[in-house]
Amino acid sequence: MSDTENSTSDTGSWFLSTARERLAGLLDPGSFTEFLQPTERVVSPHLALFDLPAAFDDGVVIGRGRLEGREVLVAAQEGQFMGGTFAEVSGAKLVGLLRAARADAKLPRTVLLLLDSGGVRLQEANAGELAVAEVMRAVVEARAAGVTVVALVGGRAGAFGGAGLTAATCSRIVLSEQGRTGVTGPEVIETNKGVEEFDSRDKALVWSVTGGRSRRLIGGADAYADDTVAGFRKTALILMERAPAFDLATLQAEQARLAARAQRFGACESAAQMWKALAIPDAQSVRNMDDEAFTALVAGVGGADHDAR
């Protein structure tokens, strides 16, 4: 990779990039070593049953590299292959990387998870669900061993279902404005509970419920990145420096934080009402302000910054 390519990808949209483009832009030029490379052709054995094409990386790229000179392990989900879903192979790659981080103290003490996933791949639903459970356990065990795990979310598929739970298991979460996260996606809620519960075609509503700005304002994300590779790199570097320990005190603090949020915003019907409850004078303007103004707004809101995760 040349320096020219790197500087171009710096300003490139994270949302529109592929998993490999994100890694190429995020890591120092030439520093990336991939594990289980596509040439090893470790593919899903299950997709053919459904007449679906396989990918030589099964939609997950893993390896190690450097971020501004700092050694990191990385994993990136490809949201444009099967929605970045957790499946037997793609999940096991994440599990293997996280278990290695825990078991081998010579490996980098930071793992960056570039999540871009709608959750579990339904064609391999049980293997995918179990992979999520194994990933969450491996994240926790790595954290308990002193590894910092940072989730970066800003791709087309967001981080839903098992990916939403995985993100919230990490030491830190970085979200961009497009970085939607949650458990059940709006379309599924609409299908199951009706359009009056959640109108998935109402883009402004979907954005206000699941989007990066809402999450950041109530403490559901620890940092807000603008939608560029450079933005995510800068934010990841800051968060890597100050990760909470995985221990009883942290989880007691998270219990208190989540209970307080439920109490404070439990009666709110909309994101605008939540923002009013945060004493944001003009809730509607949250949507329109630029990233810089939003970052300043977050700085003035209590509770968005915490070590309770």
Partner: protein
């Protein structure tokens, strides 16, 4: 078997486990040797939302704070995570992950955790409860699933007939207990005709100290690749110390 019968069978020496009006199960059971098992759970297939998570996670954290090595038994009958715009807006993913982390903290801190699926166990609520334990067992009429076949047909845009046909031979995606056993999610199916207390003791004696679910899936043939791939990744990672 009713929940009351199940609890009586699990703890013939006595228990104070109650099912609250909000369908959460909380209490303590006594083992034959006089020591305690802390019990949490969800009853009646209730969906797990923010309101349900907080009392369960608080209880687990209390058990950890008290110390000791009392096991935690997680009884699971839930149709899945609550599907609600409000709970999503409040960050349900953080709440479910919090419960998972609390259970994993407990097991890390010396409290063996056992999941017992005796009814439904679906999707995100499955992850936050049954699949967050050291070992998961089930009763024969349990029905764990990621998603039911009609919903799966809708999302994958495949005819339900084809999915039904495929599900007969493909544990990797088909809903139900037999599939979850084959992929390694459920370690063992208990026999309701035999004393549950004895089976609980046997399971307590068999709690693994590391995550062996992928190895179990490989042994049973329902998930042949995962364990080997995770090992290969770890070997490659540790073999390359200079990028």
């Amino acid at each position: 078997m009713t929940l009351a019968e199940m609890l009586a069978g699990l703890f013939p020496a006595g228990h104070d486990v109650v099912t609250r009006p909000d369908h959460l199960i909380l209490g303590t059971g006594r083992r034959a040797n006089g020591s305690s098992v802390e019990v949490i759970g969800i009853a009646d297939g209730e969906a797990l939302g923010i309101a349900g998570v907080l009392p369960l996670s608080a209880r687990v954290l209390d058990v950890v704070a008290v110390g000791g090595s009392a096991p935690i038994l997680v009884l699971v009958d839930t149709q899945g995570q609550l599907m609600s715009r409000r709970d999503e807006m409040l960050g349900l993913n953080e709440y479910l992950a919090h419960l998972t982390k609390c259970l994993l903290l407990a097991s890390h801190g010396g409290h063996p955790t056992i999941g017992l699926n005796y009814g439904k166990a679906v999707a995100g609520a499955f992850l936050a409860t049954a699949l967050a334990t050291d070992i998961l067992v089930a009763l024969p009429d349990a029905s764990p699933a990621v998603m039911d076949l009609p919903s799966m047909a809708r999302v994958t845009k495949l005819p339900i007939e084809r999915l039904t046909e495929l599900s007969k031979t493909t544990p990797v995606f088909s809903p139900g207990l037999a599939s979850m056993v084959a992929v390694g999610a459920v370690a063992e199916v208990w026999d309701p005709a035999k004393p549950l207390a004895d089976q609980l003791e046997a399971t307590l004696a068999a709690v693994p100290t590391r995550d062996m679910r992928d190895e179990l899936g490989a042994e049973r043939g329902g998930r042949r690749l995962a364990a080997d791939i995770a090992l290969r990744v770890a070997r490659q990672a540790s073999g390359v110390h200079h990028a």
